[in-house]
Subunit: 413 residues, 2 copies
């Protein structure tokens, strides 16, 4: 039997919804037993002439000093030699422990990707073709359309996160009706560009609709902004943990997250994909995504992975993250207060890095007027709104930003 | 007009062969004018609230100390914040200068990828679909089949690099006849797994065949091992430089290379794609590949890119590279001498990291026997050969490795 067929059978048997959702490419994908597999077997050989990387002959790295001189107190092997397919193993284990603190449902070992986009793109390759209905949030990240629509060729549908400025309890059940044969559903809390995270009560009807979906679906939880929730009473963990134990005949839940925002390492490009399943189906999906990654980037950046692993192992990490959270919370509160004082309405926001402000008139004109006054924001003409990233402005500048907003928003009316 | 159509028209007009070779996905690809474009416009705004990355509000990075403490004498902005789409601009310029030393044909600014595999994969996305004949070297890197065949769905054909142990002058013209409508041709010198680089005279009939190909083709020069040529008289630069000025109605030549081997930074994942064209077609192809990368990884690892840029700017780089070359040359010469003394025949090798040794009997059995004696090599049953990576063994171990080879190869007869 072809290796892809062995994987497909394992997935069909143990997680039927996942099998039903595989794209044509996803079905034919496997991990070739090539050099990486033979190199893994030779790992403890005294003379290991398997891998095409230049070492001292005993496994030690021989990096150029021009590179190594910039690295300190970190293994040169872990940073400058190849990381294994799927990522640094200690890092995968450490991230798995990090996630296990939030829930104990079925979950595969986090598969290390080149930032979260790569994880989303691999899932699109595995599960999206022109027979897939892809259900995306609106407002939502524009790159979802590009990944799942333009590149993967899925049929894109958008569900409203808000109805008349309030979280829409019926949005998910209505959206799921659009699925003809198989679907991919994207959840993103805290949201980009909304900066919104619902309460558990608000999300309940969405989870109910997903659990009871008539057609097989893959639910992708994009948890890029995990941890940045500023108001009590709102979700303090990913919906992944509530959906991972859904009926495997109906739903496969997948978690996409990473160090980009959670550890403020934007330039690192360390993301993870964890499937909400276990056993043989989990192993087969891990092999499928490893095969897909082998065909897109081979391994990810070892230096970034080693830096993230070191951070996760640092006894000081919690304090450093708390400092970043406190800084972000302060900006959030300033922005909330200044907007209220200026009587500028926003869509609900309580988390993440953004606030979304509906505007009368053309958001693009407003954006250009603000730019003339030295204030950069992002226009979303399709939502009649502008997005303010309070993550990237100093606290002292927030009143000035709101003043500029107030001046130009009034002009538009 | 849709943005993809504008790009397609520019490519059709200025580089017809490239347009004729685009896959269905390649034709519909464009770069969405989303947040990155608006953020670029706001770069000099005093208050820049465009990008979702956490900074001090004035553009300075706020990395966790648990990450930043491992970096020294290098910009925290360049290493821990997002790099631009397509890569660090100074790095792209520096790599372009590095390449310009070898030839002055048309060439786009090197597009930065996540290692060379990502470059090959992006080119497969742009140019390979199930109507593409993909012409690969044999022996050749197994991952080519995975990228261009399993993932991209092209029809794979293999051309022999050697005929009866000698570089085959007719291999390319024969292989090109297999192209039905459009083709992708892969050249890889120094080769993996062959470790071979031809002389200019040997390569001449291949270049002639490519220049005169009747069907439109994209020629990809995989120059992973550039610079590691140990014998005088063999190619001292990529075939890219001889093909970049081929008739744009027939051929598009593309260079794929990077820091992985050239700068011994295996864990960095810094590769480049440069198209052998210029002007409007070059700009359009750069936009197409940028759109494709946006849908696969978004940006690449900034920390790796910053380290490579720093190395390229180091006044000591040439000496450090010369030391690495000298070490590699010494291992090459030891292996050549020991194999000759042991009367073990090889396929011709003169460059790169590998030697390929044909064996009587089953290469996989030989591999396992060697492994039992503590010697790891890679078996290529499809070529009746094993591959020795002399890049990863100490000079002192080479006689031992050859002794083990001699012992087990004899047993096989």
């Amino acid at each position: 039997m072809h290796p892809s067929q062995i994987l497909n059978t394992a997935i069909e048997t143990h997680h039927p919804a996942a099998a039903a959702c595989l794209s044509a490419l996803g079905r034919r994908m496997f991990f070739p037993i090539g050099i990486p597999a033979q190199a893994a077997q030779a790992k403890s050989a005294k003379i290991n002439a398997t891998i095409g990387q230049l070492t001292n002959g005993h496994g030690a790295a021989l990096p150029l000093a021009a590179i190594a001189d910039h690295l300190r107190d970190i293994s040169l092997e872990d940073t400058t030699l190849y990381s294994p397919q799927g990522g640094n193993k200690a890092l995968r284990a450490a991230w798995g422990e990090h996630l296990a603190k939030k829930g104990d449902g079925p979950m595969t070992s986090p598969f290390c990707t080149v930032g979260l986009t790569h994880g989303l793109s691999l899932l699109a390759d595995l599960f999206v073709d022109n027979d897939t209905d892809v259900i995306l949030p609106s407002p939502g990240w524009g790159n979802y359309d590009h990944i799942f629509g333009v590149k993967a060729g899925g049929r894109i549908h958008r569900y409203p996160v808000f109805d008349d400025g309030i979280f829409d309890p019926n949005a998910m059940s209505t959206a799921l009706e659009k699925i003809q044969n198989k679907g991919v559903v994207l959840l993103n809390f805290p949201g980009n560009p909304t900066g919104y995270t619902p309460t558990p009560e608000q999300l309940a009807p969405w989870l109910e609709a997903i659990r009871n979906c008539e057609k097989p679906i893959v639910v992708i939880c994009d948890d890029a902004y995990a941890g940045f929730v500023y108001e009590p009473g709102h979700l303090d963990r990913s919906p992944f943990h509530d959906l991972a134990d859904a009926d495997p005949n109906r739903v496969l839940t997948v978690k996409v997250d990473g160090a980009t925002k959670e550890l403020c390492f934007f330039g690192g490009r360390v993301g993870f994909v964890s499937f909400g399943t276990s056993g043989e189906a989990g192993q087969a999906l891990d092999t499928k995504i490893k095969g897909m990654a082998r065909a897109t980037v081979s391994t990810g950046p070892a230096v970034s992975q080693a830096l993230v692993l070191s951070a996760l192992n640092s006894p000081d990490l919690a304090k450093q993250q708390a400092d970043i959270f406190a800084l972000s919370l302060k900006r959030y509160r300033s922005l909330k207060r200044c907007l209220a004082e200026a009587k500028i309405d926003t869509l609900p926001f309580n988390s993440g890095f953004f606030a979304l402000i509906p505007v009368k008139g053309d958001p693009e004109t407003l954006r250009l007027n603000l730019l003339n006054d030295g204030v950069g924001v992002v226009a979303f003409p399709q939502h009649g709104a502008i997005r303010v990233a309070f993550s990237s402005i100093a606290n002292d500048d927030i009143p000035k930003l709101v003043n500029a907003l107030a001046k130009h928003i009034e002009r538009q009316i």
